[in-house]
Amino acid sequence: MSGLLPRLQDGWRRATWVDVFLVALRLLVLGIVGYGFVAGLLHPRYGRDEWASFLVFGLVIGAIYALIALGYTMVYGILRMVNFAHGDVFMFGAYAACFTLIACNRNGLLATQPALSFALALLACMLVAAGLAILAERIAYRPFRRGRAMAPLISTLGLSFVLEYSARGMFGAQNKAFPSFPAIDGAVLVFGLSIPRVQLIVMLAAVLTMLVLTLVVMRTRMGTAMRAVAEDQDAAILMGINVDRVIVFTFALGGALAGVAGLLYGLVFKQISFFMGFFLGVKGFGAAVLGGIGNIPGAMLGGFSLGLVESLGPALFLEGIGVAAPYQLRDAIAYTMLVMVLIFRPRGLLGERLAVKRA
C-alpha cells in the first residue's frame, strides 16, 4: 500500500497516551494468548478426537447462541433497542416444546410417529415464543417508540423478571427433564469420529433454520420490507409499508427462532429450567454484539464464534499457561474476547463502520 507510510507518519503525529495504552494492551493480550497457545502446543494434552469433540461441542452450543442472537439482532436492526426479555422467550419456547413432547409421549405418539411429534413440538415452540415476543413488543416497546433508550431497556428487564417467575409459578421450580427421543439417540461415524446423532441433527436443524430465515429475509415481501424499515422508516412509510406491522413481524420472527433454539437446547441438554433464559439470553446478546448487532449474518457468525471460543478457548490458550481449572474461566475468555473485539472493532466483526454522514 502506497499510503501506508504517510498514514503511519500522520498517525504518529496524532497519537496520544491513550493510543499508546491501547497498543500496549493489545500486545499484552496477544502475548498471553500467544504464549498460552505455544506452550499448549509444546505439551500436547489432547489428541485428534478431543479437538474434534471440542469443535463439535462449540458448534452445537454456538448454533443455539446464534439462533438466540438472531432475535436480538433483528429487533435491534429495526428499533435500535435491546430486548432483555428475549432469553426468557427462548425459555418459554423450550417449555412449550417440552410439554408438547410430553403430551405426545402420554398418548404414545412419540414412539409411533416421531416425525409428527417433532413437527408438533416445533410448531408449539415457535408459536408460543412468537406470541410472547409480540407481547414483549406491545408491553415494553410500543409505548416507548419515540422515547429515550433507557425506558424500553428497563421495561424489558422487568418483563424478563415477570416471565421468569411466571414460568416458575406455572411450571414449577424443578429442573424439567426433556422427553427423550429414541429416534435420535446413538452416534454416527463422521470421518472416523463418533459424533452423537442428536448433535448432528441439532446443528443441521439450526443451519436449516438459519437458511429458512435468510430466505424469509432475503426473498419474501415481508422480509424485504423488514430490511427496508431497518434502513429508513420514513421512506418505508412512503412506500405504503405499515411499519408497526413489520415491527411486530420482526419480533414474532425473532421469537420463533428463539423458540426453535429452545427446542434444540432441550434435545441436546435434555433438561430445562425456568432460570436458563437469563444466562443464555446474555450470551446470545453477546453473540449478536460480537457479530455486529443489527447484522443478520453477523449474529450467526457471532454465535458460532462465541460457542467455539467457549469450547476451544480454555484448551487452546489457558492449558499452556497452567491455570487451575481452565474451564471455570471460559466465560471470562468469552467476555474478554467480546470486550477486545469491541475495543478494537467497535462495531463488531461484521458491523458497519460508523454512518458516513452525520451532520
Binding site: 503525529r13 496524532r14 454522514k357
Partner: protein
C-alpha cells in the same frame, strides 16, 4: 498581517462521493466571508473539515500560521475555531446560562478538589465564569433568559444562544452555519446586524453559510460559491451576483440564459 485561516486544496471523500473537491480559501483576521451554494454542494462538509469533525481526505488547513487539519476537534477548538450548526445543536436540557458556561469552563477548568470543597479560589472562578456568561447573554440580547432551559427558548433566541456559546470559547474564527435559516426578513436583518456587531466587538473572523442572499450580500466581504464540492466562484458580492456560473448553479443550467436576461433587465 498574518492570515487568519488558510485552506489549501481541501478535499473530502465519502466512499465514491467527492463531497468537497480541492477547495482553497484564505481569510484575514476579522473578515466576514460567506460560503454559498445549492443543497448538497458540500458547504457543511467543508465546515466539518475545518473543525476536524470529519478530517479532510487531502489538503492542508492552517489557522494563524499553525497547521490544524486532522487535529482532534477539541484541540482545534482550543486553537480558536468555534461553530454553530445548521439544525441548532444546543444542549437542550441545560439552561441558557449553563450552555454558555460549558464553553467558558473549558478555558478556565476547575479542579476536582476545588469543586468538591468549594474552595475560595474555586468560588472566585465560578463567580467570574458566571459573570462573564451573563455578560455574554446580555450582549446577545438574551439577558433575563439565562435560567430557562435551552429547549424552551424561542427559535430566534436559540440561534443567538448558539452563537453566544460559540463565542464563549473565545474563538478567533467563528463558523456560522445558516444563522438566519427559518427567519423572516425582519429577523434576518437583525441577525445580519448582530453578526456584524460581533465581528466588530469581538474581533473574530466570521465564515458563514447562508441561503438568504439578502444576509449574505449585506455583510460578506468575500463570497465563495460551492457546487458539487467545487468552488466555482469567489469574489465580492457584486462579482458573485453577476457571475453566470453562480446563476446557473442556483437556478438551473438551461435557465442560466433566462437568469442573465432577467438580471440584465433589472440592471
Amino acid at each position: 498581517m498574518t492570515e487568519l485561516l488558510r485552506a489549501a486544496g481541501v478535499s473530502k471523500r465519502f466512499g465514491g462521493l467527492l463531497a468537497v473537491d480541492r477547495v482553497s480559501l484564505a481569510m484575514a483576521p476579522g473578515a466576514i466571508h460567506a460560503v454559498i451554494g445549492p443543497n448538497g454542494a458540500g458547504k457543511t462538509t467543508l465546515f466539518n473539515c475545518l473543525t476536524s469533525f470529519t478530517p479532510p481526505s487531502a489538503g492542508e488547513i492552517w489557522l494563524q500560521g499553525a497547521r490544524i487539519d486532522g487535529l482532534r476537534p477539541d484541540l482545534v477548538a482550543a486553537r480558536g475555531i468555534a461553530r454553530t450548526y445548521q439544525n441548532i445543536r444546543l444542549f437542550p436540557d441545560l439552561t441558557a446560562l449553563e450552555n454558555i458556561m460549558v464553553g467558558l469552563g473549558v478555558r478556565r477548568p476547575e479542579t476536582l478538589l476545588g469543586a468538591l470543597l468549594a474552595t475560595p479560589a474555586h468560588r472566585a472562578t465560578v463567580a467570574a465564569v458566571e459573570a462573564r456568561a451573563r455578560a455574554l447573554l446580555l450582549d446577545l440580547g438574551l439577558g433575563g433568559r439565562g435560567d430557562r432551559l435551552a429547549r424552551h427558548l424561542s427559535y430566534g433566541d436559540q440561534r443567538r444562544l448558539e452563537i453566544a456559546r460559540a463565542l464563549s470559547v473565545q474563538p478567533v474564527l467563528l463558523l456560522l452555519d445558516e444563522p438566519a435559516a427559518g427567519m423572516n426578513p425582519v429577523e434576518s436583518h437583525a441577525m445580519m446586524e448582530l453578526i456584524a456587531r460581533i465581528r466588530d466587538e469581538h474581533g473574530v473572523g466570521i465564515l458563514l453559510i447562508e441561503h438568504q442572499m439578502r444576509v449574505v450580500m449585506g455583510i460578506s466581504e468575500q463570497i465563495h460559491v460551492l457546487d458539487h464540492g467545487v468552488c466555482i466562484a469567489a469574489g465580492t458580492p457584486a462579482q458573485i451576483r453577476a457571475d453566470p456560473a453562480v446563476i446557473a448553479a442556483y437556478l438551473g443550467a438551461r435557465a442560466a440564459k433566462h437568469g442573465m436576461d432577467a438580471l440584465e433587465k433589472r440592471a
